[in-house]
């Protein structure tokens, strides 16, 4: 972090420029497992955002007290505390989502995005900036999961958020909601999103030269 970033910049950075799914390609395991439907993607995204926000704030608060040598175990303890909270909340209030996501809720502990943000950002920046970073990264993660979940749900089940949109004559392509379809569609969406982003970047760079 050479120059001072604004909080708005940090937040938007997480959603767009350094989107954890499409730009950093972190946390592929939950991306594949939790996007069998748009609802599951949303649930996983919100849970991860909550953990990310909480752990970023706490780790940023403790950043001057954690010895550098044991920082990773310390981060993991903080993160797993928040994951346990989230797991209990989901189990208590949204049992259907709890059943759908299963093992992948406790596995948020080892989600690369959360540990990466703790290590790369929260351990070095102020509390407010870390909170903005956690929210931005979480929102970027959630939006990406919803996008992938929607595509997989439409192709594999003919519905969006559980609402049947393609009618009874549509023959769903089951592989889209299975693991191999997850890999294939994630790869395709990743490629499409990045080609669009690079095209936009090229266009804005061209404008900059003219002006």
């Amino acid at each position: 972090m050479g120059k001072k970033q604004t909080m708005r910049g940090v937040f938007i950075n997480g959603v767009l420029n350094e989107n954890p799914v499409f730009r950093l390609v972190l946390g592929v395991c939950p991306i594949l497992a939790a996007t069998t439907s748009a609802t599951n993607g949303l649930g996983m995204g919100v849970a991860a955002t909550f953990v990310l926000l909480g752990s970023n704030i706490v780790i940023s608060l403790l950043r001057n007290f954690i010895p550098a040598k044991v920082r990773i175990p310390a981060y993991i303890v903080v993160i797993s505390t928040f994951v346990t909270v989230v797991q209990m909340l989901i189990q208590a209030f949204v049992p259907s989502l709890y059943d759908a996501l299963g093992i992948f809720i406790p596995l948020i502990v080892v989600n690369c995005i959360i540990l990466a943000r703790a290590e790369a950002f929260a351990g070095k920046n102020s509390v407010l900036h870390s909170a903005a970073d956690g929210l931005g990264m979480g929102l970027g993660f959630t939006l990406a999961l919803i996008l992938i979940g929607m595509v997989r749900e439409i192709i594999g089940n003919g519905s969006v958020f559980g609402l049947d949109i393609l009618g009874p004559t549509f023959q769903p392509m089951l592989i889209a909601i299975m693991a191999p379809g997850g890999f294939i569609l994630f790869g395709l969406i990743l490629g499409i999103v990045n080609s669009i982003v690079s095209k936009i970047a090229k266009r804005s760079a061209g404008k900059g030269v003219k002006a």
């Binding site: 023959q171 769903p172 392509m173 089951l174 592989i175 889209a176 299975m178 191999p180 379809g181």
Partner: protein
């Protein structure tokens, strides 16, 4: 004088992608004819839709991606025809269309077009369709017409039946050989497949290594595990897969040793899936799995370059 300088070798071979693919198409004629005769006009529609959509998909992609249009090399037509022959005659016609588009766009063009795909396009498309639409892809029917006199009663009304693999003993060896059995359009008539195999062997399109080791290991392993080896070969898709799909140049090893490993590996996986797996037939998945280990086989069987010293010599 206009002399053109170029690097050697300066031999011009008769073979091109186009002539090789043409030979494969010629070798597929008996199988196609037998399938259309046995399953009627419906089979012809399935084949037509799959070939036309494969060629169209290739053409449209190459136009849109501003690449040289290479539809004339016939490889898309071969992919489409093999895919159509891999489907039962009673599939709804949107299935061969979607299958061909998956084969050409997803498996072949996205990896860089001809020669760059790491799996056989027709095979992976069939695998994806089998997993996605299991009901439609396994509606096997008895043939509408039969070849020769036989105990099998032909049924013009498309009576659905289980694949002959479930109970091969219900059919006598003659029916299994000429194809008076339920199955996909291309796999049933073993005689036609063997004619195509001999043709490709004769003109040198393929070598015997993969088909013979593939079919041989299926027979041997089935016999060891206590089933009739002839039934194991003649009732399912082993012959068709071994002759026309395992021999795809792009997705199998470079050397003869590699071919033999490839064929035996396919055979073992087929028998394991048939005996212990959830699907009645495993040819598709066997070939796909061996496609993915092809680079490894190439590495194991790499020849020492002449003039270099052995590492542990």
């Amino acid at each position: 004088m206009n002399l053109r300088m170029s690097a050697g070798p300066h031999f011009v071979a008769r073979e091109s992608t186009q002539t090789l693919m043409l030979d494969v198409l010629i070798a597929l004629i008996p199988t196609t004819a037998a399938g259309v005769y046995l399953f009627g006009l419906r089979a012809a529609w399935v084949l037509a839709v799959s070939v036309i959509s494969a060629v169209l998909a290739e053409f449209v992609w190459q136009k849109l991606a501003r690449k040289p249009v290479r539809v004339n090399d016939l490889s898309a037509a071969v992919t489409g025809l093999i895919l159509g022959l891999n489907m039962p005659a009673e599939v709804p016609l949107w299935l061969p269309a979607i299958g061909s588009i998956i084969a050409i766009l997803l498996v072949k063009q996205l990896f860089g077009g001809i020669g760059q795909n790491f799996m056989n396009p027709a095979m992976l498309a069939r695998g994806i369709m089998l997993v996605s639409w299991p009901a439609q892809m396994t509606v096997y029917t008895l043939p509408m017409r039969v070849l020769g006199s036989t105990s099998v009663v032909p049924s013009p009304d498309a009576v659905s039946a289980a694949t002959a693999l479930i109970r091969p003993s219900a059919y006598n060896p003659y029916d299994l050989l000429v194809g008076n059995i339920p199955g996909t359009v291309g796999e049933v008539c073993k005689l036609a497949i063997i004619i195509g195999f001999l043709y490709m062997l004769f003109v040198g399109t393929i070598s015997w290594h993969i088909p013979v080791t593939f079919v041989g290991s299926v027979a041997l392993l089935s016999w060891i595990l206590g089933s009739d080896p002839w039934m194991a070969i003649l009732s399912g898709g082993v012959l068709f897969g071994a002759v026309f799909m395992a021999t795809d140049y792009v997705t199998n090893p470079l050397l003869k040793v590699g071919h033999i490993i490839f064929g035996i590996g396919c055979g073992i996986i087929v028998v394991v899936i048939r005996k212990f797996g959830g699907y009645p037939e495993g040819v598709t998945f066997a070939i796909l799995l061996m496609n993915t280990v092809t680079p490894l086989i190439d590495r194991w069987t790499k020849r020492r370059v002449y003039g270099t010293v052995k590492k542990h010599g």
